[in-house]
């Protein structure tokens, strides 16, 4: 048998499932039996009643800042890796153009 077959995702998943099941089966007998009590399974809220409510995560406010940081990081990386030799006028021009494009993107992001 080829040993690399053990690395196939379904087989590896099955092996780990068996290992976890065995650990759980062996150790659950060691745990002390719990006592049923009112509120034992409720969410921890400092002992208070915690009424459940539906919540929809909304990342709309976060999105512009995520893009902003992505643009700035990429711009920083690009500018930092440009050639700095005095003869590299072309690179300097590329850097300026890149900064202008980033500035335009930021203006669209926050002003447009």
């Amino acid at each position: 048998m080829n040993p690399s077959i053990l690395l196939l995702p379904p087989i590896a998943f099955g092996i780990f499932l068996l290992v976890i099941w065995a650990i759980s089966w062996l150790t659950s007998g060691l745990a002390a039996a719990g006592v049923e009590a009112e509120g034992k399974d409720l969410p921890y809220a400092c002992g208070e009643e915690f009424p459940g409510e539906k919540a929809t995560p909304d990342y709309a406010g976060f999105f512009p800042f995520a893009i902003f940081f992505t643009l700035m990081h990429v711009a920083g990386l690009m500018l930092a890796t440009l050639a700095l030799a005095p003869t590299a006028v072309l690179h300097l021009g590329v850097g300026i153009v890149y900064l202008l494009v980033v500035g335009l993107a930021l203006a669209i992001l926050f002003l447009g």
């Binding site: 060691l30 719990g34 034992k40 921890y44």
Partner: protein, 146 residues
Amino acid sequence: MSSNPMLNKLVNWSRIKSPWILHFNSGACNACDIEVLDALTPRFDLERFGVLLKATPRHADVMVACGPVTRQVAFRMRRIYDQMAEPKFVVAVGTCACTGGVFNGCYSVLGGVDKILPVSAYIPGCPVRPEAVIDGVVKLLSSLKQ
């Protein structure tokens, strides 16, 4: 628990070496709370006994309760105790937690922590000194060995 004594010994040893605590103010003036936190700082280093302060009762083995139990907090305290995993212990820190202290008999106070929960260790003092907290915790851990 297992029927194997060696396994039980191992489990008990593990529990004694990692007693995670939940700090609970049941109506204290904050003096004992500050001393408990002081005991956890590197100066006194209660963590050398494996004691870790946890933020949820689900992860805690020991409830460290400070102050007299007020009528407002009694139900909440009982619920939090119920939410702790077995086996669990309660340490009453400070004179107020032990007996109600100067607040005993007050209309809004039920008394010491043992009016609500089974207490495993009493650490008197007003406020307790960090050394006393450490001494109480060590004695509690020693009692768990038996």
